[in-house]
């Protein structure tokens, strides 16, 4: 006879049976929500102002920011148009953009990379090389909590 599960074990069992698609949904929904929140801050826009631009109610925008709303691709496209910024990338697109920008000269790379890296989720760890094509250092950065941007470590030559 099967052992009767305790309430605590039932809770564990219930949560462990969450479908994988739910994980992806929340991951995307939360990422997009945070992206919108950061863009509103960056452009100094209120929820009311963005609602007016989109022809939506403020409560609708509040739902969008909740992190569990099922945004349509049309709504995402409208936001991308307003902010002139792409929200969704395929893996190859992201890789291509990132790699292209890596090759720009160091003085420009901070600015250029900032734009790309800031499109990644806050908290992401990003690894890239700094320097010229022939002489560079590898470095790791973590996107900062406040800005969604990153701090670039100074270029230092490795000891021979």
């Amino acid at each position: 006879m099967a052992k009767k599960l305790s309430k605590s074990e039932l809770v564990d069992k219930f949560l462990s049976e969450t479908p994988k698609e739910f994980e992806y949904f929340i991951q995307h929904s939360m990422d997009i929500s945070v992206k919108i929140i950061e863009l509103l801050k960056k452009h100094k826009l209120t929820q009311r102002e963005i609602a007016a631009k989109l022809g939506k109610s403020e409560s609708e925008i509040s739902k969008w920011l909740s992190g569990n709303h099922n945004l349509t691709l049309k709504s995402i496209a409208k936001l991308e148009a307003i902010f002139d910024e792409q929200f969704l990338f395929t893996e190859s697109e992201a890789f291509e953009i990132f790699n292209n920008k890596i090759d720009v000269e160091p003085t420009r790379s901070v600015h250029s990379l900032d734009k790309i890296v800031s499109s990644f989720p806050v908290g992401s760890s990003v690894s890239f090389k700094v320097g010229t094509k022939n002489e560079y250092n590898s470095t790791n950065v973590q996107l900062t909590e406040k800005t969604g941007s990153f701090n670039l470590y100074p270029i230092t030559k490795e000891a021979a």
Partner: protein
């Protein structure tokens, strides 16, 4: 009533705790999951994933919470899903959450006061916040980037 705050998800982005009342079989968050899982299973699962995401990936954003307590207190609800499932918490800036309970808000009862079960959860959390606040004032309990430290067992005098 004696209670302690116990971890739920201690992630790199934020720390999520809940309340465990002495001698109760389940802590408040697990009781919330247990009570609502048969009614709105998908909403409960999505909410749980949202908490994991807040702890491990994106952190706490004010925009994803709605204040339910008077100004000066920090009881919020995590914005509800389409199924009106509400979970309440004490929010400590962008550092930590202490989860309480919650349940489904009746769609035809717009105000919190019209949902006495939910109002009770909010009132309870306000009292819990006061007790924790006092311990923090006395430096018995501290909140750092690593979460709560020091005294984690408390007593709420009714």
């Amino acid at each position: 009533m004696k209670f302690s705050i116990v971890p739920v998800y201690l992630g790199k982005r934020s720390k999520i705790y809940t309340i465990r009342i002495e001698n109760s079989e389940l802590d408040e968050y697990r009781r919330f999951v247990y009570d609502n899982s048969s009614v709105v299973p998908n909403a409960v699962r999505l909410l749980d994933l949202q908490l994991k995401n807040i702890a491990n990936k994106n952190g706490i954003y004010d925009e994803q919470f709605i204040r339910e307590s008077p100004p000066g207190k920090n009881v919020f609800r995590i914005t509800e899903t389409n199924e009106w499932l509400r979970l309440y918490c004490i929010k400590y800036s962008r550092v930590a959450l202490v989860l309480g309970g919650g349940s489904i808000k009746k769609p035809d009862k717009q105000k919190l006061k019209e949902n006495p079960e939910l109002q009770m959860v909010v009132d309870f959390l306000i009292k819990i916040e006061d007790v924790i606040f006092e311990a923090m004032q006395n430096n018995e309990t501290r909140l750092t980037d690593d979460g709560f430290e020091g005294k984690l067992n408390f007593e709420l005098v009714e």
